[in-house]
Structure formats: C-alpha cells, structure tokens
C-alpha cells in the first residue's frame, strides 16, 4: 500500500475530526480524496504538522489528528520530546512512514534505513507508540480515537504518490474555514 491508499481507507474515520495535514503531496491527496473544512492543509513549511497539531490540541478540547511523514518528522525531530513532555490526550500523531521524501522525488529517508521513528518516539518519552502495517492504519486510528490517550502511530507503507492536483484554495480561506470548524 502507498500513502494515498492509506488516506482513502482512513478518510471515513478522520473526516469528522480536526486534521492537520503535512505539506506537499499528502495534502494534495487528502484534499482530492475527501476535502473537509476540518482539514488544515499545509502549503509550505515542511516539518511543522506535528507542532501545529500539538498546539491546536493543547489549546482546545476537540480531538486532533496530525498526518505527518517520516521525512517531515526527521526535519523537525525536536517535536517528539515536546510532544512527549506536553501530553495532550486529544492528540494523535499519524506518521505515514514510507521511507522516502515523497513530494520531492522519492529520495530515501533514514527512517527507511536504520532509524526507527517508533523507537525514537519512545526514547523521547512518548507513552503510546504504535507501529503498524499500512493495512492496519485504520484500526490503529480507531483504537486511538476510542482510547482517549495521546498516541503516536507509525504506519509503515510503500513509497509512491498518487497523481493529484495542486491545492489552489487561498491559504487564508483554508485557515478561516478550519477555524470555524474548530469553533463549531
């Protein structure tokens, strides 16, 4: 399974949740598969999906799912200790780990080689870290949503991208409709 197949499978589970989605092709794929006002698409700023998601989860009570990638987490490794030490039980970090920088041409990441993001997250102090196969991602999210505990899910999948259009929505429109969804 590749990332877009995971997103298709989990779309019905996450569509009513607040979702912060990683820059580049992941956001393009989610936008094409199931655009929702509850989705915040990152159009730039690689690496900050988990930080934005944590800030959002700490600021209000609704559940927040940050969809991140292995390359983006590697870019912002400092996020994992911050997450571990500021527990928000309404926060789920889904790291779609395809072992590659998908948006830039599928160059390999270290997460696809010797580095285990699940082990790093645990070493940083994250308490509920789940590594799963791509096929089990939907169940892992359902479990995390039911569990009411901050959870880090590392979903191991194959490298590859679906061909989806670039998001042309204005960033202020994305942000404004998202904030209205947060307040709704």
């Amino acid at each position: 399974m590749i990332r877009s197949e995971i997103l298709k499978e989990i779309a019905p589970v996450i569509r009513d949740q607040l979702v912060v989605c990683n820059i580049g092709i992941p956001s393009q794929e989610l936008h094409a598969i199931d655009d929702q006002p509850t989705n915040f698409y990152m159009l730039g700023t690689m690496g900050l999906a988990s930080s934005i998601g944590l800030g959002l989860a700490l600021a209000q009570d609704k559940k927040v799912i940050a969809i991140d990638g292995d390359g983006s987490v590697l870019t912002n490794f400092g996020t994992l200790p911050t997450i571990a030490n500021n527990v928000a039980d309404n926060f789920i970090l889904l790291i779609v780990d395809n072992g590659s920088y998908g948006s830039t041409g599928d160059q390999p990441t270290y997460a696809g080689q010797k580095t285990s993001l699940a082990a790093v997250a645990s070493a940083c102090g994250c308490e509920n870290v789940v590594e799963c196969r791509a096929e089990d991602t939907k169940q892992a999210i359902e479990d995390a949503l039911a569990g009411n505990k901050m959870t880090i899910i590392v979903a191991k999948c194959e490298s590859g991208n679906a061909k989806m259009p670039v998001i042309t929505m204005d960033p202020v429109v994305i942000r404004d409709r998202f904030m209205k969804a947060v307040q709704a």
């Binding site: 900050l48 944590l54 800030g55 209000q60 912002n76 996020t79 200790p81 960033p171």
Partner: protein, 168 residues
C-alpha cells in the same frame, strides 16, 4: 515592579495564554515569570520554527500565542514566518532578545545583529526596538496592534534595555 513582571502583565492583560520560549540569558527573568503565571500555558520549544508551529496551532484553537526567543532565530525562522505565519495571516508577537548590540561581550553575536533589522524589514515585519526601560511602556499597544492586523510583529530588546550583561 520588575520589568519582567511588567512585560508578562502586559501579555496577560492582552489575553495571551500560550507562550513558547527558547532559552536566553537576557530573557531568563521573563521566562521564569511566564512559567510562574497560572494564566499562561508555557511550552518550551527546542527550535524557534517548531515554536512558531505550536503558536499557529494554538491560535487556530482559540488561544492568543506569543514566542520568546533570540534574534539569531530570525535566521532560523524566515521560511516559517513567510510560508506559515504570514501566508495564512496569523498574529504572532515575538519578544526578541537583541544580542550583538551595544554592551555585547560576545563578538559572534554581532554577526546576526547586523542582519536582524534588515531581514525583518525585508519580510515586512513591523519591528519595535526597546533600548531604554521606558520603551516597554509601548508593549501593551504593540500587542493590541499585533492582534488587530494578524501579523508577526518583532519586539527587539537590547542589552541596554536589560541593563547590560553584568559579569559575563
């Protein structure tokens, strides 16, 4: 009242309740004060761009944020300021220790100091420079301005403002 308390009083009076900090010797008193206030959730960050991500999320979640950092962070956060805070039009007061100005003992700090205002100007970021303690009288107005216009705003505080570096 100490200048640290006065600054944090202004944050609280402007309903700022989510503050991220990266450590700085000059700002240590303010950071201690932020940590001590029950009205503020203090979340230290490991790098300033990470902190700006946290602030963006907190603001979308309904809390007014602020970031406290050194001016060297401008070099770290230009992409985040342009593609997140400015692109999505979000307010972000940045209380910045302006290292490398008069009374600076560490020569390397001057290397970023000489770029700081130029970079902020290039980014069209409203910038205020506190040099004397009375300059902080404007902080309340600057914070109101920040949340009026939904922009990142820089407040540079130099060594003279903080009373020098002591024995450093």
């Amino acid at each position: 009242m100490s200048i640290h308390s006065k600054i944090v009083d202004d944050l609280v009076a402007n309903d700022i309740s989510f503050v991220t900090t990266v450590p700085c010797k000059q700002l240590a008193g303010v950071i201690d004060e932020v940590e001590a206030r029950p009205e503020i959730f203090h979340i230290p960050s490991n790098k300033e761009d990470e902190g700006m991500g946290l602030c963006a999320g907190a603001w979308m979640g309904g809390k007014r944020p602020a970031i406290i950092m050194q001016n060297t962070a401008i070099g770290v956060t230009i992409n985040t300021l342009a593609t997140l805070i400015q692109y999505y039009r979000m307010p972000l007061p940045m209380l910045i220790s302006y290292r490398g100005e008069l009374r600076e003992p560490v020569a390397c700090q001057v290397e970023m100091a000489v770029h700081t205002k130029a970079l902020l100007a290039q980014l069209n970021i409203p910038t205020y420079h506190f040099h004397k303690e009375s300059d902080a009288d404007e902080l309340d107005t600057i914070l109101k301005y920040t949340f009026m216009c939904n922009k990142p705003v820089a407040i540079l505080t130099d060594a003279s403002f903080w009373g020098g570096y002591g024995d450093q």
